[in-house]
Symmetry: C2
Subunit: 66 residues, 2 copies
DNA sequence: AACAAATGTAATTTATATATTGCTTTTTGC
DNA sequence: GCAAAAAGCAATATATAAATTACATTTGTT
C-alpha cells in the first residue's frame, strides 16, 4: 500500500496534524497511511487528494514499491 | 460516492458476479459500490480498476453526480 | 545540552466495510 | 410467456479502518 502522500504533504509544507485536521481524521491515521500500513477508505483518499491538490492517481496509483 | 464502475463493467460485458470473483469480494459488495452506497477501501478500488482496465481517476475521481 | 514541535508506535475502543444468507424483482434468451 | 440468470434489497455477523489515549523517538532551534 505504498503511496505518495508524505511527499505531497511535505511539498505543501503541511504537518501531519494540519492535514489530519483538514480532512477530518486524526494525526495517527495520516501517519499510518503514509507508512503504508493502512487501507484507507475511498472518501478519505479523495479528501486527502483534494487538500494536497493532487488526483487519486497521482497519490495512489501504481506507486513503485520501496 | 458516485462512480463509473457499472458503466465500465458493462463495457467489458462482465456480470457483478464475475467482477466480484475476480477482485475477491461478494456480489453484494459490487452491487452496493455501483449504487454509490458504499465507501470502499482503496485496495478494493485498485483491484476493481485493474480488472476493468481503468485507473482510479477514471472510475472514482470527480464523477459528475447525476 | 535543553527544550519544543513533529512524528513514530502501541493498546484499547468504536464505527463501518464486507460476508453471509435468503428472498424479491428485473432482465435476457428460448 | 416462460425459465434462468442477473441484479436489487434487507437482516445479521465478522473483520478491520479509524478514534482515542498515552508515551517514545526524532528533528530542529536557541
Amino acid at each position: 500500500m505504498k503511496n505518495n502522500v508524505k511527499i505531497a504533504r511535505i511539498k505543501q509544507s503541511m504537518t501531519q496534524q494540519q492535514l489530519a485536521e483538514r480532512v477530518g481524521v486524526t494525526r495517527q491515521t495520516i501517519g499510518l497511511i503514509e507508512k503504508g500500513q493502512y487501507n484507507p477508505s475511498l472518501q478519505l483518499c479523495i479528501a486527502i487528494a483534494k487538500e494536497l491538490n493532487k488526483t487519486l492517481d497521482e497519490l495512489f496509483w501504481e506507486v513503485d514499491d520501496e
